[in-house]
Symmetry: C2
Subunit: 500 residues, 2 copies
């Protein structure tokens, strides 16, 4: 059995090496590749994705999993070995249903579509992206159909990002939070608005970048095992625990957007850097789900980086760096401006009170696309309608609307809901942390993040993908995913800022 485990690990390592190569191809495409490279890149992505898939779904791995079934049942289910077998078997059983031709076609189409999206967004021309998107939706429907019968055609897609969770379950959670968030947004709208014009001026990019570097270094990002670049859409990726890369972006009319992007992505990056290196090149080498991943990015962005405590420490430096823009702005005013809530068209710039509404909009559109109730050509109009309905605003153009996000051109249909779940989990975790490190707010006021970082690594990061998502949430917070702490948190935070 020892030999079979070793053999299995070696075959998994081969497959994950190729997956990590595909991740590099994608990182490069989004950060460095010149436009002329797009066509060749789409072939390269197709070739590598297909080979990674074939390696992972090989007959040999199938046979080893079969041979090891009895052995696995005898293991203490909490050991790394038992978990490796369990998670590998779960993923194998899912991926084995997918023909490698579909994998390579999907990789080719989405790699090419990324470049199309960049141009379409620049020109705010949805028509440019439409044919690619129609192909992607068709490929996603074909993919989902491989898993029939299912409760819902969206389930197999969602399960790729949030293993084990069903569409019905996330809808239930969203139904609970939607009315409360809508009510909160309405309540805020009736109060005098916070002043934030001083944030929306030109801020020197180099100085902004230096600040992002300073802050994520304080958070604990290890530059020997990672880097930060720029991309149209901020993201984080990992090719090994020793090579974790985040990106940020600079907006011409914002002094804090890049910093908050970097803090967000740094949360993802700290997770990846904190995973037990022994799990590298196995299915345990990544977080258990995208919601868990997002819980970490939102924790550092919203629960560490946005609150008053952080700025008590950091605002004097920030103000000194941008004395022209902020010389006359006091900490209280700055804090409120950073946390201003107002319906706006761009999800990644949305405040916490409105953010989940952006997610719900996308989830509904994705479900309608998968059900065949919505055509790609009708997406821009459907998008704008829901923006009016949920947020009371109409995007000025498609770049500010349906084209804003990278996900659909990248084929990531099924992903968005995990963002809202990440918000919810982040507050569950935060409550637990505060109960165990009551001094944390005081530490943050002193610019100290080490005990927070250590807690997260010890309780969450190092386990990588060892546990199922809900199992990990349960272990860490004592309950399953529960929206109540998040709703309480929103009411308290915005209740104070807007004197509700």
């Amino acid at each position: 059995m020892e030999n079979k485990i070793t053999k299995l690990k070696s075959l998994l390592a081969d497959a994950y090496d190729l997956s990590n190569v595909a991740a590099l191809l994608s990182w490069d495409e989004q950060t460095k590749m010149p436009p002329g490279g797009a066509e060749a890149r789409s072939y390269q992505m197709a070739a590598v994705s297909r080979l990674a898939h074939e390696k992972f779904t090989s007959d040999e791995i199938g046979r080893l999993l079969e041979d090891l079934q009895v052995y696995e049942n005898q293991l203490d289910p909490d050991t790394d070995e038992a978990r490796l077998l369990h998670i590998t078997r779960r993923d194998y059983n899912k991926r084995i249903r997918v023909p490698s031709t579909l994998v390579s076609e999907f990789a080719r189409v989405t790699a090419a579509a990324h470049t199309t999206w960049v141009v379409a967004r620049q020109q705010s021309d949805f028509g440019k992206l439409r044919p690619d998107l129609e192909r992607i939706v068709a490929l996603r429907r074909e993919y989902a159909s491989l898993f029939a019968p299912y409760d819902h055609i969206y389930d197999p897609l969602f399960d790729d990002y949030e293993p084990g969770m069903k569409t019905a379950e996330v809808r239930q959670i969203f139904d609970r939070i939607r009315p409360q968030q809508v009510a909160l947004v309405h309540a805020i709208a009736e109060r005098p608005q916070v002043e934030d014009a001083f944030l929306h001026k030109p801020f020197d990019e180099q100085k902004q970048e230096n600040i992002t570097v300073d802050v994520i270094t304080r958070f604990g990002f290890d530059w020997k095992r990672g880097r930060q670049d720029r991309s149209a859409h901020p993201f984080t990726t990992s090719f090994s625990p020793g090579d974790v890369r985040l990106t940020t972006r600079f907006l011409p009319d914002s002094g804090i957007s890049a910093l908050f992007s970097s803090m967000h992505e740094c949360g993802h990056a700290l997770y990846e850097q904190g995973i037990n290196p022994a799990y590298a090149r196995t299915p345990l080498g990544q977080p258990p789900s995208m919601a868990l991943h997002e819980s970490q990015s939102r924790l550092w962005e919203n629960l560490v980086g946005a609150p008053y405590d952080f700025w008590v420490y950091y605002y004097p430096r920030f103000q000194e760096t941008f004395s022209t823009q902020l010389g006359n702005v006091d900490l209280e005013a700055f804090y409120k401006a950073v946390n201003k809530s107002e319906p706006s068209p761009i999800r990644v710039e949305a405040d916490e009170a409105t953010y989940n509404l952006h997610i719900m909009l996308r989830l509904e559109l994705e479900i309608a696309l998968m059900e065949g109730k919505l055509e790609v050509r009708d997406l821009p109009e459907a998008w704008n309608e829901r923006m009016r309905e949920y947020l009371g605003i109409t995007p000025a153009n498609d770049a500010q609307g349906v084209l804003q996000d990278v996900h659909w051109s990248g084929g990531s249909i099924g992903y968005f809901a995990t963002y809202a779940l990440g918000n919810i989990i982040s507050v569950q975790i935060w409550e637990r942390i505060l109960s165990e490190i009551p001094d944390l707010p005081a530490q943050i006021r002193r610019g100290e993040f080490a005990s927070l970082r250590a807690w997260l690594e010890e309780r969450i990061h190092r386990f990588g993908g060892k546990y199922e998502p809900q199992e990990l949430v349960q272990r860490v917070t004592g309950s399953r995913i529960d929206p109540e702490p998040y709703l309480r948190y929103l009411r308290t935070k915005f209740g104070e800022i807007y004197a509700l």
Copy 2:
């Protein structure tokens, strides 16, 4: 037969997609990868290199080449199809001898050794690199032995970079130029030395970088199909005709090193960008040999960028940019400083009179290593001895000596001689160009490079790897590789500068 050709091209495309992915892994390692990524990268390189090798040497390609042999013999030998079959067959017959385990082991070891080299060079500690280098030399000997019987054990290695050329042939050429270059170096040493202290001061890096961008844009580099980055050792790589990347580097004590690196690498890049896109993803998609490749980099660096004509046009801008350093330096003095000849330890910084001596030193050491007459542990001493013998200088340390170049840690034993051959060919081509575009020097004085670029693309670049190296040299210059024009050129150039 049509079907078989189509099938062959499709299989070759699959193999070249993976080769291009390996090239990206290497580019990223040299330009972007954090040190912590080294171990995982070595596995990734091994996996992709092995798969590329297996694809290219598949039984299916072997059978198709066999089936197409008679058909090939009936084709006009100058057609693309005949050439594709010829070059594919040549490469297939060579690579089929190499077991894929050796390919992956070599890729793994050299990927890891690159990171070791970076550290060893930083710390000037040859001992750090020695174990990796011993393994690499052993693997190269094992590789060469696969091609026995051979005239010389170095032949199979050299042939990888310069197909069809033998060690004996390059030695014969080197024996012809060595005494003449040594005599020239001695003659220069007896003359008053040119003043160049004004070049060896701090020059602002950002301004230097802007100048590199300006110059290579004028040369015709297409930024939509490429980019420039920084690396410890400048190089150029291509993942498709639409994605050609060069690197440069900035030295703290030189105002022109980065510019000349960029002009050099731009020569390589223009070659890659100029190849017929129809040859992409086939063995015709790259230049026929490294000497031909180098002929283009040296042409732009030495025959365009170094002469007086270029600086008549460019010096006023350059002087304005760096008025602090160069305000009092006139064009004549600047031109001479740029072309100063003096023995120095670093090859890539060497002037044209001494450059080939650096190459001969490396060729002799490589041959001795392959013959087993020199041990890796004795390399630093052997290096320094020959430096004293050829150039009359002793490197201050190993970073300035045996550790200076990236090639050996990358496994590129067999490569160096092509640099000297590139010098030789560049002047053969230049003489031909001047006979066909007599007005070229006047164009360059006006900052016009378009007709030169067009000539090179028309006569050389677009053919990619369609011709054997010597065949292409013959077509372009009317003779085989011939050192006489180069020797004449050196005598004339340095005769004028040093009034010999």
